[in-house]
């Protein structure tokens, strides 16, 4: 039996490894060719150089796109943090039967095709005569990132002991103070992780951005326009940058989640201890 289990284990391991290679090798190649010394994007690899990095960073349009993208991602993270926390808190704390409907509505943007969101947003903005700008991109990004934040925040808030808020109220805290001093500190690491996710969603959003960007540009739009004109490693440089930022944020969100989970486990253990 164990030999057979070993064989299936080996097969499973191989399969997993193949999938990972399949997923990661293209990313590795993109990163590798961002350092290519020649303009060619195909093998053979002719040597390392940082010339494409210098070229890209010397490019005014790129710097603007990078700056716009970071600004947008930061603003999207901040907006979803405020709206998403408020929505998740409202849904978890209201005893109303409408709370379930609220959850469905807040999650709706995830299920809609981005193309549809982009067109709908464009039509709506035209109707109310808002000019396309970074602000309209921000609105689009917030709509898309919101459900991701909301989902995570809701789970975190639902796991909290509502008795702690009552204890705070009993000790003289108004509802807002109780939220600020008792509820928020307990879920803050998770919310920070969720905000990092919103940041990532904004950073590489393309479809909706394409519709509502007007004359503005972001990193994904910059890559897209570059692809149509010049095919050289400068695109790899931008992609590698995007990838690196995303990876760093992902690790951050992950670590925040793990820390929150550990703290929760410790608390559960101590509670169990108290009961025994």
């Amino acid at each position: 039996m164990s030999a057979r289990a070993g064989r299936t284990g080996l097969a499973g391991g191989l399969f997993t490894a193949l999938v990972l290679v399949f997923l990661l090798v293209p990313l590795g190649i993109v990163a590798l060719f961002s350092l290519h010394s020649s303009p060619s994007l195909t093998f053979p690899f002719e040597g390392f150089s940082t010339r494409w990095y210098s070229e890209v960073f010397g490019n005014e349009a790129f710097r603007e796109a990078l700056f716009n993208s970071l600004e947008l991602a930061l603003a999207t993270a901040a907006f979803t943090f405020v709206f998403g926390t408020a929505a998740a808190y409202g849904v978890t704390r209201s005893g109303s039967r409408l709370a379930g409907a609220g959850v469905a509505i807040f999650l709706l943007p995830i299920t809609l095709p981005l193309l549809f969101v982009g067109i709908a947003l464009l039509i709506a903005l035209r109707r109310v005569d808002i000019e396309l700008s970074l602000l309209t991109i921000l609105i689009g990004h917030t709509i898309i990132a919101f459900p991701f934040f909301f989902m995570i925040a809701r789970v975190a808030l639902e796991r909290l002991d509502p008795m702690l808020e009552e204890a705070a109220a009993d000790l003289g805290a108004s509802p807002w103070t109780a939220f600020r001093k008792v509820t928020l500190p307990q879920v803050f690491p998770v919310l920070l992780g969720a905000a990092a996710l919103a940041f990532m969603v904004s950073l590489d959003e393309f479809v909706v951005t394409f519709f509502v960007s007007g004359n503005e540009t972001t990193l994904p739009l910059f890559i897209f326009s570059r692809l149509r004109t010049t095919l050289n490693p400068s695109i790899n440089v931008v992609s590698t940058l995007l990838m690196t930022i995303t990876l760093v944020l992902f690790v951050f969100a992950f670590v925040m989640g793990i820390r929150a989970e550990r703290r929760r486990a410790r608390r559960a253990a101590s509670l169990l201890d108290a009961v025994q």
Partner: protein, 336 residues
């Protein structure tokens, strides 16, 4: 009785579309008194406590604090504090900051806060625990911190919702003594909710026995124990036998039952009943018996001191008797 600190007048409450959980509750708690609301789960005692704390608005009636109607005052503006069933300490704060929480909100000067936290920790005998996290405390310690966190605000009334129910027996007995001492030393008015009759008897100045949303009896522990007003109180508080008598119900406490092995006497003495031992358990100081008597609708419970000899076996034939002077007769039918 001196002036009432906390009064409930005509309190009624029903949750949405349900049976009323509280009906016409009138209760006055005197200054410095220790009153326990005792009852089985679902009898409305916790609902009344939450109404006192301000977490629930009663459907009917009003709550008064020192004669002032506070029914519409939200919990954070009421001069009462509640100790929860679980300690409900803030996990992200250490003991010091848990205790200082209410004082900081009340804008008490920093220097004074430090002094009062120290006093409160001394009061619950946890000097040196100021910088522990709530996760590093035992159940009993956490509940003592919760008590200190409530008392440090010098509430008009300290409300407690089964604060000992999550603790093990040894810690619970320790905490009972601790509560009596805190009550004496702080001279604060205590309102305590429990389903444990031993706790109620051991702690209270007065007990209000709750039955299905109403106060079935209100009195001192001795009154409640010795003069139960209803079969429910007799059963619930004294764990007594309630037997059908000539004019009403006879309340017979377990320790007043006399059990004799039948072989002792050939025939049954006058007033005694024949019976069979169905169960026997060792309780340390005594044996507790369950005896089935053919003449009675339900088994008789009896407690016999354990130093009176070895226990009777299950199935043993016995006679059951008692001194009628030790029983109490209740009018009316048995509802329970």
């Amino acid at each position: 009785m001196s002036s009432a600190t906390l009064s409930f007048r005509g309190i009624g409450h029903s949750y949405v579309e349900g049976e009323p959980v509280l009906r016409e509750i009138d209760l006055e708690v005197a200054d410095g008194e220790f009153v326990t609301l005792l009852g089985a789960s679902g009898c409305g005692k916790t609902t009344l406590l939450r109404i006192a704390a301000g977490f629930l608005a009663p459907s009917e009636g009003a709550v008064f604090l020192h004669g002032e109607d506070v029914t519409a005052v939200p919990p954070h503006r009421r001069a009462v504090n509640l100790v929860f069933q679980r300690a409900a300490l803030f996990p992200h704060l250490d003991v010091y900051d848990n205790l200082a929480f209410g004082l900081k909100l009340a804008k008490v000067p920093k220097g004074e806060i430090a002094g009062r936290v120290r006093e409160a920790l001394e009061l619950v005998r946890l000097e040196g625990y100021a910088h522990r996290r709530s996760g590093e405390l035992s159940g009993g310690q956490a509940q003592r911190v919760a008590l200190a966190r409530a008392l440090i605000n010098r509430p008009e009334v300290l409300l407690m919702d089964e604060p000992l129910s999550a603790l093990d027996l040894r810690v619970r007995l320790e905490m009972e003594a601790e509560l009596r001492r805190l009550h004496r030393e702080t001279a604060t008015t205590f309102v305590y909710v429990t389903h444990d009759q031993h706790e109620a008897l051991a702690l209270s100045d007065r007990i209000a026995v709750f039955d299905r949303g109403e106060i079935a009896q209100l009195g001192t522990p001795a009154e409640i124990y010795h003069q139960p007003a209803s079969a429910l109180t007799a059963r619930f508080v004294g764990d007594a036998n309630v037997l059908p008598g000539e004019d009403g119900l006879t309340v017979l406490r377990q320790e007043d039952v006399v059990l004799r092995a039948s072989s002792d006497a050939g025939e049954v003495p006058a007033g005694a009943l024949r019976g069979t031992v169905r169960d026997v358990g060792f309780r340390g100081a005594g044996y507790s018996y369950v005896v089935q008597c053919p003449q009675l609708p339900e088994p008789v419970k009896a407690e016999v001191p354990s130093d009176a000899g070895p226990p009777l076996g299950i199935g043993a034939a016995v006679t059951v008797s008692w001194d009628p002077a030790l029983t109490r007769t209740l009018p009316g039918e048995d509802e329970a």
